[in-house]
């Protein structure tokens, strides 16, 4: 890789940039030309100037090369003497600090304007102090508890009223209240037209011997 004005190459301080303008903007995609490159160099210089020891960085210190159709290219930042390139770590941290500004200048985001080897800080997920599911759980839980308590209490009250009233007459009236079914193993068929003459159950020896 040759640099335009012959500055010594230092590939480990160079970063590859990749833009996907058509993916991001579709029909509104702009053409990548030398003016856009100028803007890019300006943004990189701006980021470097924010680093405490590098306030003197100029646009001319940012060099681009190997621009492809993709659009992708390599860039490197040199020091004012143009003799060597700035260390990758500095460039990396500067870009990371100002990533949002750089993205916005080009209407792109972290995914469509990629700096290879410069990982972007991902947005932290929204973390409410109380997880939402616990709130929903609490509401439903309270409703169910209240409904259960109401049903149980009304059942107890009904049974107490029945016991205080006439105990013998309630079985026929209550079709489906809290009746407790007591049975002796022989089904009772109210439509059994043969009356009591046939015992439909399977007779055991005991029952045959027990007098009615």
């Amino acid at each position: 890789m040759e640099w335009i004005d012959g500055t010594s190459l230092n590939a480990e301080n160079a970063f590859k940039v990749r833009l996907s303008i058509r993916t991001a903007l579709g029909d509104k995609a702009y053409v990548w030309d030398t003016n856009e490159e100028y803007l890019f160099r300006a943004m990189v210089a701006f980021s470097m100037r924010k680093v405490p020891s590098r306030e003197a960085t100029e646009i001319s210190h940012v060099l681009l090369c190997n621009v492809t159709q993709r659009v992708s290219f390599w860039f490197v930042v040199t020091d004012p003497s143009r003799n060597h390139t700035l260390p990758a770590v500095e460039v990396q941290s500067a870009i990371r600090m100002n990533r949002n500004r750089i993205n916005n200048a080009f209407f792109l985001n972290d995914r469509t304007l990629e700096f290879l080897r410069i990982p972007s800080t991902l947005a932290p997920p929204m973390d409410p102090s109380v997880p939402i599911w616990i709130i929903v759980f609490g509401v439903i839980f309270c409703i169910v508890i209240v409904a259960t308590a109401l049903l149980v209490l009304s059942g107890i009250r009904h049974r107490r009223r029945n016991n205080k009233g006439l105990p013998g007459l309630d079985d026929a009236e209550d079709k489906c209240e809290n009746t407790i079914t007591v049975e002796n193993g022989i089904p009772c068929d109210p439509l059994d037209t043969k009356g009591g003459h046939i015992n439909d159950g399977f007779l055991t020896e005991d029952e045959r011997l027990t007098p009615l």
């Binding site: 169910v144 049975e183 002796n184 059994d192 009615l212």
Partner: protein, 603 residues
């Protein structure tokens, strides 16, 4: 009321100690709805589509419908008729048929109990996902970030965000069944809530259950219809439907297709658990249970087929989405490696450009080539999944890509919850009816206390499934608690009614009770065809267990991000044996006990 007085007058003749009327359903519709609610459960939604996919798509419907007519309807009618005739829960009903056979009722009770212990865990998960659906974005649609926020969590990257949410956030699953881990407090809370809801529905017996089933039986259909409309309008849905309904006729020759159709019909109707007998026992004796049996079995199977259509349109959408994603990844890879112009490479010119690049830059292309995945829509559609994997991984993956995904998610998990609750309420009634019928228990405790105690015990045991290894134990219960036992129970039931009680006697009872004569078709099925079929299924299951040798399970490997197969340790095999034995042994043991008791009493 007439019957009350009439009963008391002849009370001393035919039922000496009966004091109070048996509770009844408010109207026959409630009975129909609870049968539908019990039968239509999660199996219709997550097992039937899988079977359909595995065994030939549209052609699977042939064995399925044949088995429905030959096996499902007769056995369902038999159980309903027994319950309506004997007017007691499972234990009392079989004791009436023959005291030696009350073990059948006890076995049904044990199976229902085991099922209720593990089934409510599914409702727990549905509740968990339902409560998490009220967030934007949905928690299973994005991976959480790693420690220094430069990338995503490693396990999530290797698997997918939906798998990560299921295995790590919901289950917090351990690498193997031996490592039990702690009880997860979030799951424990949801389990408690699920049991409270079940208690609320069954605590008043038929009075409350009868009203709840209007809701649990109808809501799943509303949601399924909404999903059908949404599903059919999704991009790529037709791919899934075409794939499913293309019949692969040669699968009809596969015996496994027929066996799976038979087992699906059998287990899907809930036969042998005592639930159907319990529901029918609360009927009016003149109720036409033949008509209800046919209606319920047809509704059950139609629901399965209907949900199959919905599932396959969702599959089609998901497969198309993944396929297009895969293509986009390949396009991006090629664009970046060869610095092609952004937007130049599309799905349509991909192949020709690949050939061009291979010929123009052979060395560079051969470097990139191993990373190019072969994207195939067919292979995406081929991933057949059943069970919790379908409901909580595949469906959630499809939902997260829909617009307004929170709404679809809430609807879907609400539907799962009502399906599960409907079956749980039925199972709860199956357990409670014999308990409340028994003189001993109901004289000490009121109905609310018995229900409360049952729910409490089940909830306490269910905490086992909220531990880190809980899902592995869940799979054990799901696969072994009910399968063999139910086959044996229903076989004994059929033989008992036909040969011990006497088919002619049962026929005349039914005629006196309902007023209709018994069709020859039912008699032929009950006496010959169904027992033979069940024996066949039984032999198949046993030979399958014996031939596979040691039993294995799927364990989640967090380091690799997918499941691996492992062998069960000896104590897990012992638990499996115990599960099967605890219900099947009831039948011979009780018969033996009754015989011994009689023998000593004679002396």
């Amino acid at each position: 009321k007439g019957p009350g007085v009439h009963r008391r007058a002849e009370g001393f003749v035919c039922c000496r100690a009966r004091e109070k009327a048996r509770p009844k359903w408010g109207n026959p519709m409630q009975f129909l709805l609870i049968c539908v609610s019990y039968a239509v459960g999660l199996g219709n939604v997550w097992r039937f589509p899988y079977l359909c996919q595995m065994y030939g798509g549209g052609s699977f419907l042939v064995p399925y419908i044949i088995m429905l007519i030959v096996e499902g309807m007769p056995l369902l009618y038999l159980e309903l008729a027994v319950g309506q005739r004997m007017r007691q829960g499972s234990i009392g009903a079989w004791r009436t048929i023959s005291p030696y056979l009350s073990g059948v009722g006890i076995a049904s009770l044990v199976v229902s109990f085991l099922v209720s212990v593990y089934y409510n865990v599914i409702n727990t998960w549905a509740v968990w996902y339902l409560f998490h659906s009220f967030q934007d974005p949905l928690p299973w649609s994005v991976c959480p970030l790693n420690g220094n926020r430069t990338g995503y969590d490693e396990e999530c990257e290797k698997a997918s965000s939906t798998q990560y949410f299921w295995y790590r956030k919901t289950l917090n699953i351990s690498p193997s069944i031996q490592e039990n881990g702690n009880v997860q407090w979030e799951s424990a809370l949801c389990l408690t809530l699920a049991w409270l809801i079940v208690y609320l529905c069954i605590l008043r017996g038929t009075e409350s259950t009868g009203k709840v089933v209007y809701f649990t039986a109808s809501l799943p259909y509303c949601v399924l219809i909404i999903y059908l409309v949404r599903g059919l309008t999704l991009h790529g849905a037709t791919n899934g439907l075409v794939y499913m309904f293309t019949p692969k006729i040669k699968e009809l020759a596969n015996p496994k297709a027929w066996i799976n159709a038979a087992t699906q019909i059998f287990f899907s109707l809930g036969l042998g658990c005592g639930g159907l007998i319990a529901f029918a026992s609360y009927n009016e004796p003149s109720n036409n249970c033949q008509k209800h049996a046919i209606i319920v079995s047809i509704i059950n199977s139609s629901t399965a087929i209907f949900s199959c259509i919905v599932t396959f349109s969702i599959y089609g959408f998901k497969a198309t989405f993944n396929y297009e994603n895969c293509l986009n990844k390949v396009i991006l890879l090629l664009t970046n490696s060869f610095d092609l112009e952004d937007g130049f490479l599309t799905a349509s010119n991909l192949e020709e450009v690949k050939d061009y690049l291979a010929s123009t830059y052979p060395s560079k292309y051969s470097e990139v080539f191993p990373h190019i995945r072969n994207c195939s829509l067919e292979s995406e559609l081929n991933t057949a999944v059943q069970g919790t994997g379908l409901a909580f991984i595949v469906y959630t993956e499809a939902i997260k890509n829909m617009e307004v995904s929170q709404l679809w998610s809430v609807l879907y998990f609400f539907m799962l919850l009502t399906l599960g609750m409907g079956s749980m309420v039925g199972t709860g009634t199956a357990i409670l009816t014999p308990l409340t019928d028994s003189k001993v228990i109901s004289s000490y405790l009121p109905k609310e206390a018995i229900s409360g105690l049952v729910c409490l015990v089940n909830c306490a045991i269910g905490m086992l499934f909220t531990m880190e290894a809980g899902n592995y134990w869940f799979d054990i219960f799901n696969d072994y608690a009910a399968t063999l036992s139910l086959l044996l129970i229903v076989l004994v039931e059929t033989i008992a009614v036909c040969y011990v009680y006497g088919l002619k006697r049962f026929e005349s009872d039914l005629q006196a009770m309902t007023g209709h004569a018994l069709n020859w078709y039912w008699k032929a099925m009950w006496a010959f065809v169904s027992p033979v079929l069940i024996v066949g299924l039984f032999i198949f299951y046993l030979s399958d267990y014996i031939l596979t040798g040691t039993l294995q399970y799927q364990a989640w490997d967090a380091t690799q991000g997918h499941v691996v197969t492992k062998d069960y340790p000896p104590y897990a095999l012992a638990v499996i044996g115990l599960l099967v034995a605890s219900s099947t042994m009831c039948i011979p043991l009780v018969a033996l006990g009754t015989f011994v008791k009689r023998h000593f009493r004679k002396k």
